[in-house]
């Protein structure tokens, strides 16, 4: 159940869109922020708010890689594995992340801090290899830099 205030603000967001579907991503992101991930309950709530069926919300939710339909850690790491980053040996970075965090792709660290996900091009090709941690972008990664970033992100609130 979402609080009344959130509900009201989402309704206003939807009312200002030309079609309700257009506001779907915003609504999902807000609900995700509220629950920590987009729960089944949140999908149903989004559907009710948007006048769509849960399936139609699920279609969108599962398309976008930053909508999480399973529980995730406090910060999600999106590490790019698209062409430019691949040329810049992102495989090494990904391997390093796995080793360092002790999880595979899709896994969440035991302390619940990080979830590691591959992603497609983030538009940071010029600074490849690239990743984002909790929404903050980082480029020109090296294993050493990754260690520093993880350390810093772990302590940043």
């Amino acid at each position: 159940m979402i609080p009344e205030t959130l509900k009201t603000s989402l309704e206003a967001r939807i009312a200002s869109a030309i079609t309700a579907r257009e506001a779907a991503v915003d609504v999902m992101k807000e609900l995700q922020a509220h629950y920590g991930w987009l729960t089944d309950e949140a999908v149903a709530e989004a559907a009710a708010l948007l006048g769509l069926s849960p399936l139609q919300v699920e279609e969108l939710a599962t398309f976008y890689e930053m909508i999480y339909r399973r529980p995730v850690g406090k910060k999600v790491i999106h590490v790019c594995d698209s062409i430019s980053c691949w040329c810049a040996d992102c495989d090494k970075i990904i391997q390093h992340l796995k080793d360092k965090l002790g999880v595979g792709l899709g896994g969440t660290t035991a302390d619940g801090m990080f979830t590691l996900l591959p992603c497609c091009c983030m538009g940071m090709c010029g600074d490849s290899p690239a990743m984002s941690v909790g929404g903050v972008p980082y480029g020109r990664l090296t294993p050493e830099l990754v260690d520093e970033i993880l350390e810093a992100e772990r302590h940043k609130v």
């Binding site: 069926s53 399936l55 139609q56 699920e58 279609e59 599962t62 398309f63």
Partner: protein, 645 residues
């Protein structure tokens, strides 16, 4: 009209025609998966590549998404196009489980056909295949996602075309999944079309799985008998059992699709309890013995009570042929009474509609699709003419306003796939451009005055009949001044009845003597009748049906009459102990078990002869023109033949 050259053949097509369709018009089938004539173009599968050698566009192009243009020179056989198609099909097949032998689609599978036609015959891929969990989608459809090639036909049909919201596409990239949010029965009353539209075996008809292969089936063009829309179908039969029913294209009626009632509601055809043996006084007898007895009983009754006390009773379930002969039979019996309807209100409405409709005011399905507004007059459309709801939806999507006039609230299971405004009377419907508006109503039980008022509106009309062949019943009722059975009995005129596929209203049976009855199903009439003559259903007979817009359509026998081999009683195995088996009986016999049934009109013809009448041909006289009706054509509206009067 663009003129182009395809594989050295000059082609001229209507503007907007795709190169794929243009090629098809001269007999060249370019392999394709995502393209379907009824759906919007997706160009998702990339299989339909051709090479343009010259003209306004050059190089490899997707022929489904490329409108034909003047001066194009197209090659469907260019090595580069061939290579492209074979690589695309190889790629689409990467994850496919190659399980055709255990797939019910095998033999009627577009994927099989176009994999071969596309030039992919050897698997090179050695990697792991992606696999999916299937979902339970209800009792109609089986789900097997691993066979999916991501053509998006299913979701384009289900959501865009049919307006369903509970089935769609989820995920992205290699994880694209077609299904529901959670397992459960598909909600759309058109869900069965997924079976026909999916080019592979992702969706197969659960009600007929693993019974036979395509080449085992007997089938023939048929007409759905569930309502008066008259959609075209093709029942697929195996060993005297209707295994599946699929949609058959008729652009004037149902397009490519049918509703789930037409597809899945078929158990009654195969019912081993169907009364299959002729009976005389409770005992099984030969067919001719029963016909003789019926003729004798009729003669006796007429001698005792006069022909006016006898009624021949039919129903809108009869074929046109049966209805015509019923009238002749009444005449041969010395001028007996005639009835096609039990209930006066139904007859009155049905007849009023047939009188009011003519070529100019009767809507074509296309006119519904293109209407500016559609008014449903006190109508539950999903009950009375489901497929028309898809035509109304097209109009709705194109911006038409839809009204439900004076209607009861529509039950949740029958919510139509479009939005509508409920209003109290037709006056509230904005009539500007009346010619581009369509009023749809049911006519059974409607007051003729109301129907006349609706007809005088100037809008195009659809008046759904109270039975699949109600329009024909109305025409015959008018021609022969037939009366509703209730009235004939209530007025005390009629004391005896002979019933042909008649549904006699409750309570009437106790007031009349039933001399004989003929039907393919069991009912109170059957139980009361001393003489019983089993008849064939529409799958086992040839006939003509006239739909609600007066369109005469021919259906053909698609299997012989008789008990389905499956579940055949052990007695037919010459052994009371042999387990019921799917193997044909090992006993030699000439007759098909339970195969004594005859078409109702043929039984009538025999009775007419027994009563001293001339041998008769149902489609003669004014009906002669219908004799040459092409079962695979679009049918003809009878108005054109002056039969509507």
């Amino acid at each position: 009209m663009p003129k182009l050259i395809i594989d050295d053949i000059p082609v001229e097509v209507a503007p907007g025609t795709s190169v794929l369709e243009a090629a098809r018009s001269v007999g060249i089938t370019i392999p394709h998966f995502c393209y379907h004539p009824a759906l919007a173009i997706a160009a998702a599968c990339r299989l339909c590549a051709v090479k343009l050698l010259d003209g306004p566009v050059k190089g490899i192009q997707m022929s489904c998404a490329l409108p034909a243009q003047d001066g194009m020179v197209v090659s469907t056989t260019d090595p580069e196009a061939l290579k492209m198609r074979s690589l695309v099909i190889e790629w689409l097949m990467l994850n496919h489980p190659h399980d055709c032998p255990i797939c019910d689609e095998g033999g009627e599978c577009l994927l099989q056909d176009f994999t071969i036609a596309g030039g992919h015959s050897r698997r090179r891929y050695q990697g792991k295949k992606r696999t999916f969990q299937n979902q339970y989608l209800g009792e109609g459809i089986h789900h097997e996602m691993n066979r999916c090639i991501e053509c998006y036909r299913c979701v384009r049909f289900y959501q865009d075309y049919a307006g369903g919201t509970d089935f769609g596409v989820m995920g992205s990239a290699g994880r694209v999944y077609f299904g529901r949010f959670q397992e459960g029965p598909l909600e759309s009353p058109f869900s069965g079309n997924l079976v026909d539209i999916c080019p592979t075996g992702v969706f197969t008809d659960k009600t007929g799985r693993f019974r036979a292969r395509y080449w085992d089936y007997q089938f023939a063009p048929s007409i759905c008998q569930h309502c008066s829309v008259g959609c075209n179908t093709s029942p697929q039969n195996f060993q005297r059992e209707t295994i599946k029913i699929v949609g058959r294209r008729n652009d004037q009626v149902n397009g490519w699709f049918i509703c789930d009632r037409a597809r899945f509601d078929k158990a009654y055809l195969n019912d081993p309890q169907r009364p299959r043996d002729p009976r005389l006084d409770g005992a099984t007898c030969g067919y001719d013995v029963a016909v003789d007895a019926a003729a004798k009983s009729i003669t006796e009754f007429v001698r005792r009570n006069g022909a006016g006390a006898l009624a021949f009773v039919g129903s809108p379930r009869l074929s046109l042929e049966g209805m015509i002969l019923l009238a002749q039979l009444a005449r041969a019996a010395g001028g007996a009474r005639l009835s096609y309807y039990g209930d006066p209100d139904q007859q009155q409405g049905s007849v009023a509609a047939a009188k009011l409709l003519h070529e100019e005011n009767t809507a074509y399905v296309r006119e519904i699709e293109q209407a500016q507004w559609v008014a449903l007059h006190a109508l539950d459309l999903m009950e009375e003419g489901p497929m028309l709801a898809l035509a109304v939806r097209k109009a709705f999507l194109a911006g038409a306003q839809i009204f439900l006039v004076d209607g009861d609230p529509i039950p949740a299971r029958n919510i139509p796939p479009f939005k509508y405004t409920a209003v109290e009377s037709l006056d509230q419907v904005p009539f500007e451009g009346g010619g581009k508006g369509v009023i749809i109503c049911g006519c059974g039980k409607k007051d003729p005055e109301l129907l006349a008022q609706i007809a005088s509106s100037g809008a195009k009309l659809v008046m759904l009949q109270p039975g699949a062949n109600g329009f024909a019943a109305a025409l015959l009722t008018i021609e022969h001044a037939a009366s509703p059975l209730t009235e004939l009995v209530a007025s005390g005129q009629v004391k005896g009845v002979v019933c042909f596929e008649a549904d006699v209203p409750d309570g009437l049976l106790s007031q009349v003597e039933v001399l004989a009855s003929a039907d393919w199903r069991r009912g109170p009439v059957h139980d009361k009748s001393p003489i019983f003559l089993p008849t064939t259903t529409w799958v086992e007979s040839d006939g003509t049906a006239i739909n609600c817009e007066g369109r005469a359509q021919r259906f053909e026998r698609s299997r012989v009459a008789g008990l389905p081999l499956r579940g055949l009683d052990p007695k037919y195995y010459g052994s009371a102990t042999e387990a019921v088996t799917l193997h044909p009986p090992r006993l030699h016999r000439k007759e098909v078990p339970g195969g004594a049934e005859r078409d109702a009109w043929q039984v009538m013809a025999q009775l007419i002869e027994r009563l001293g009448g001339e041998p008769v041909e149902p489609l003669s006289g004014k009906w002669r023109a219908l004799k040459s009706l092409d079962p695979e054509g679009e049918g003809v509206r009878i108005f054109e033949m002056g039969l509507g009067e």
